[in-house]
Symmetry: D2
Subunit: 283 residues, 4 copies
C-alpha cells in the first residue's frame, strides 16, 4: 500500500472538504500539527471546509470548539453539517405546524429560524389534541432524552401519525474516549425505522445531497469545478464512498477509524477505493 504525502497531493486542488472526527480531531482533542496544515493551505491559496455528520451542535458551536483549541481558521462559515440539510428540508417541505424532535437543546438550534414550533418528544403528550399539529419528526442527537421512555413514545407516535421522519446524522457510532464509542442517532434511527417499517429521510455523508449542499455553498464564494475539490476522510463508507460518487477525488487518512494495518484489506473487501491514502493530513 503506497502512502502519499498529503501536502503533495493537496497542491493539485483549489478546495478541500475535511471530515472532522479522525481527521482534524479525536476524542482526546485536536490532532497534532493540524494548524500547520491549515497554514500550508492558506499559503497555497487552497480553500477548506469541514463536512460533518455531527448535528449535535450548530456550526457556530462547532467552530467555538476549534477556536478554543487555537485553530482559528475554522470559523462557522467553514462548517457544513448534516443538520443544515435537515433544516433545509424542513424549510422547503414543512410550512407550518409543530416539529417534534429527539436530541439536546443544542441540537434543536437547527430547527430555529424556521417559522415552526418545536417540541421535544419528552414533552409530547400522545393523547393531547395538539398531536394533530405535528408535521414532522427530526432525529438530531442521541443525547437529551430518556432512551427507553422516549424511544417507545416515538414508536407509538409513528404508529398513529403519518409524518415525515428526518434523520440529521447517519453515523452508527461516535468516539467518546480513546477506547469507547457510543451509539449515534443514526443507529437509533435504524432501530425505529426497522420497528415501525417506515422509510426515513436521511441526511449526511455518504449521501450525495451533503456533497451537493457543500459544493453549492463554496461555489457562492468562487467558481469551482468538481475537479478542483478534494474530499479527505477517515471512513470508507461515508467520506470516501460519498466523495467518489459525487465525482470528486478522495483521500483516505489513517488517523481515525481506518487503522493502517487494515486499510488495504477493507479497501479490497468493500470495493470503496480512495484516489489517495495518506497517514494523516500533516504528512
Amino acid at each position: 500500500m503506497y502512502l502519499d504525502s498529503f501536502k503533495k497531493v493537496v497542491r493539485n486542488y483549489r478546495a478541500v472538504f475535511f471530515d472532522a472526527f479522525g481527521v482534524l480531531k479525536n476524542a482526546s482533542g485536536i490532532l497534532p500539527q493540524v494548524q500547520e496544515t491549515f497554514t500550508y493551505l492558506q499559503e497555497n491559496n487552497i480553500a477548506f471546509y469541514v463536512l460533518t455528520n455531527d448535528a449535535s451542535r450548530s456550526p457556530l458551536q462547532l467552530a467555538d470548539f476549534y477556536q478554543s483549541k487555537g485553530i482559528n481558521d475554522i470559523t462557522a462559515d467553514k462548517i457544513i453539517s448534516s443538520g443544515m440539510l435537515a433544516r433545509d428540508y424542513l424549510r422547503h417541505k414543512v410550512k407550518d405546524g409543530r416539529v417534534a424532535y429527539l436530541g439536546t437543546k443544542d441540537s434543536a438550534v437547527y430547527l430555529e429560524a424556521l417559522e415552526l414550533m418545536t417540541i421535544p418528544i419528552s414533552k409530547l403528550d400522545l393523547n393531547h389534541r395538539k398531536m394533530d399539529e405535528i408535521r414532522a419528526l427530526v432525529l438530531l442527537d442521541d443525547e437529551g432524552f430518556d432512551w427507553q421512555l422516549d424511544l417507545n413514545k416515538t414508536i407509538n407516535l409513528l404508529r398513529r401519525t403519518n409524518v415525515p421522519v428526518v434523520v440529521a446524522n447517519t453515523d452508527k457510532t461516535y468516539p467518546v474516549s480513546e477506547n469507547q464509542v457510543a451509539a449515534a442517532i443514526g443507529s437509533i434511527a435504524d432501530l425505529l425505522e426497522w420497528i415501525v417499517g417506515k422509510t426515513f429521510i436521511r441526511f449526511g455523508k455518504p449521501d450525495a445531497q451533503m456533497f451537493h449542499f457543500a459544493f453549492e455553498h463554496i461555489k457562492q464564494e468562487n467558481d469551482y469545478q468538481k475537479d478542483d475539490v478534494l474530499m479527505v476522510g477517515d471512513t470508507l463508507h461515508t467520506d470516501i464512498l460519498g466523495g467518489n460518487k459525487f465525482g470528486i477525488d478522495t483521500v483516505l487518512v489513517l488517523s481515525g477509524n481506518t487503522i493502517p494495518d487494515q486499510a488495504e484489506f477493507y479497501i479490497k473487501t468493500t470495493g470503496i477505493i480512495p484516489d489517495f491514502i495518506c497517514e494523516s493530513i500533516t504528512t
Copy 2:
C-alpha cells in the same frame, strides 16, 4: 377469505401449540371464553402447550398469571418459552465462567440452575480484571436496565471481548396497553448486532429450534407425529412461518396482530400461507 371454526379444525389433531399474546391473552388480560376452549380440548383428549417468545419470566411465573385469571389448565409444564432454549444453549456450550445479561431479575431465572455465575450488564466494570471471565452475553428482556448507559456499555463490551451473544426473544415489539407497544429485546438485539457487526444466536419462533424443542418435549409424554400437531398463532412471520417450516399444520387467528381486514392482503404479499384461518380459538 374463508373462516374455519377452530373447534372443528382442532378435532383432527392430537396436540396443539398455542402462541400466547393475541391468541390466549392481550394487554387487557385473558381473551374471552378461552377457558371454554381448554375444556373442549380436554373433553376431546387433545393435549396443548403454550409456545412463547416471552423470556421475561420463567414458565412458573408465566403459569401463575394464567392461574390468577382462572385458567387453571395452563401449568408451568405446559409452557415452552424461548428462554428455555437460551438456557439449553448455555448448558451445552458454556461450561464455566460468568454470563453477562441484559434483562430483569425475573428474566435472569433462566440462567439459574446452570453452574455459571451471572452478572447484569449494569454491574459490569469493563476495566475490571474479571472481565476475562465473561463467557457469554444473554439478551433476555427489554426491562431491568438503563437503555442508554447499558446499551452503550454492551457495545463497548462486544468491541473488546469476543463471546457468543444469545438472544432469548426474537420479537420486535410487544403490546403494553390497548393502543401502545414497546420495543422488545429482539429489536434491541438488532440494534446491537448492527452496530458491532457480529452474528448473534437467536432463539424463538419462527426459528425451527423452538418447534423442535417443543416437539421433543411433548414426545416425552406421548408418541406424537408431526401430522398430529397444530400450531395456532396470530402472527404470520413467527407462528405461521415457523410452524409451516417445521412441517406441522397452522392456524392463523384474527384476535391479535393480524387484523381481519388485512389478513388476506398480508398472506398474499408475504407468501406465508396458513392452512386455516379462524376468527379466534373460541369459534
Copy 3:
C-alpha cells in the same frame, strides 16, 4: 383519500419533472390524452422534463419513441436518465483504461464520448493480461448478455480485481407487458453486490444526485428555485421519496405502479407522503 386535479395543481409551478413509466407510458404505449396535458403545460408556460431510471437507451433513442407516438414535445434535451449520471461519474473519476459493462449495445452509448475503451463482459477474458486495464464496471441494462455465463464471470472478475462498480438504474423490475414484469439491472446489481460483498455506486431515483443533476440542467435554461418545481411519479419509493428529500413538491399519480385501492395503505405504511395525489396527469 382526496384526489386533486393535476392541471389545477401544476399551475402553481414553473417546471415539472415527470417519471416515464406509469406516468407518460406503460407496456402498451403512451397513456391516453398525454399530449393534451403537454399542450396545457405549454399554454401555461410550464417547462417539463422526463426523469427516468431507464439507462437501456440514450435520451435520443428514448425521445424517438415518444415522437414516433406523436408526442413531439419530448425531445432528447428534455430527457434526463440515470445513465447520464453514470457517464458523469466516469468522466470525473475514470481517466483512462477500459470500462467493462453489462448491457446492450444501445445502453453502451452512455459510455461513448468518454475517452475510454469499452468491453462487454461477454467478450472479457478473465485470464488475459489486458484484464489489468479494466478501471470500472458499469451495469447498464438487463438485456444484451447471457445471465448465467456473464453474471458468474462478473462475480469472478470482482473477486480478483478491485474496481468501482457503477449501477446506472436502481429499479427492481420493469413492465414488459400488461401482466408481466422483468428483473431490471438494479436487481441484478443487488445479487452481485450481495455475493461479492462490495459496495456499488448507484445512480437513479430516489437518490438525490438524480434530482440535483436534473435541477442543474434546468437552471441552465432559467432561474428556477426548488419551490418552482414539481415531481410527478407513480412510485412512492423512487419518485416521491426522492422528490421529497430533494425538497421539491411531489404528486403521486395512480396510473401506474401504485393502484388506487392501495395508495392510502402504502402511504401510511411506508411513511412516504406525497404533497398531492392525482388519478393521472390528464385530470
Copy 4:
C-alpha cells in the same frame, strides 16, 4: 491462534458431522489423506456423517462421487443433504397437486417418491389452466434452466400465484475450479425473494432444522447425546454458527473457505467462535 490436532480433538466424541466442500473435497477432487482419517475414525469407533447444503444430487449420486475416488466409507446413508429437508417439508405440507422447480433433472430426484407431479419452470405455461394445480415451488439447483427466461418467468409466477417457495440450498456460491466460483441457488433465491417481496422457506446450514434432522437420523442408529457430536466445517456462517446454535461442539478447518491468514480476524469480527481450529481433518 492455537491449532489443535484434529485426531486428538475427535477422540473425545462418538460421532462427527463433516461439511463436504472445503473439508473432504474441493474443486480439484478429494483432499489428500482424507481416507486415512476415515480409517482412524473407524478404528476408534467414531461414527461420521456428511452434512451438505448441496441439493444438486441425491445422496446416492453424491456417494458415488466419493466411491469413484476410492473413499468407500461414504455410503448414501451417511449423507444428509438439505434437499432431504425440502422433501420432508413437502411430504408434510403439500399433499396433492403439482410442484414446480428450478434445477437439473438430477436435483429433481428429491421430489420423487412423493405422490406429487413435478414440472420444471421451463415447461410451465403461465397462461395454462393447469397453473391452478401448482402447490409449491422448489429451488433446487442453479443449473438446468435458462436464467434470464426462467427467473423472469418465476417472478411472474409468484406475482400471480401464492404458493410456498422452498429453497433447498442456502449457500451463496460454490467453487467450480481452483480460482472460480459460481452463484448457488441460495443467492438466486435471495434475488427472487427480494423482487417479489415474499418470505421463502430455506433449508440448509446454519439453520437448526438441518442439524436436528441429522441428529434424529443418527439417533436411529445409536443413542447419542448432543455432547457426543462434533461438527467440522470450513465456513463460519454455516457450519460453525449452525453447530454452535444447535448446541454441539465445533471445529473450524482451514482447508477451504476460511484461509489461515484471515481465520482469527473473521472469528473476531463475526463473533462466530469455533470450539477448536484445525489445519485440516488430516492433522
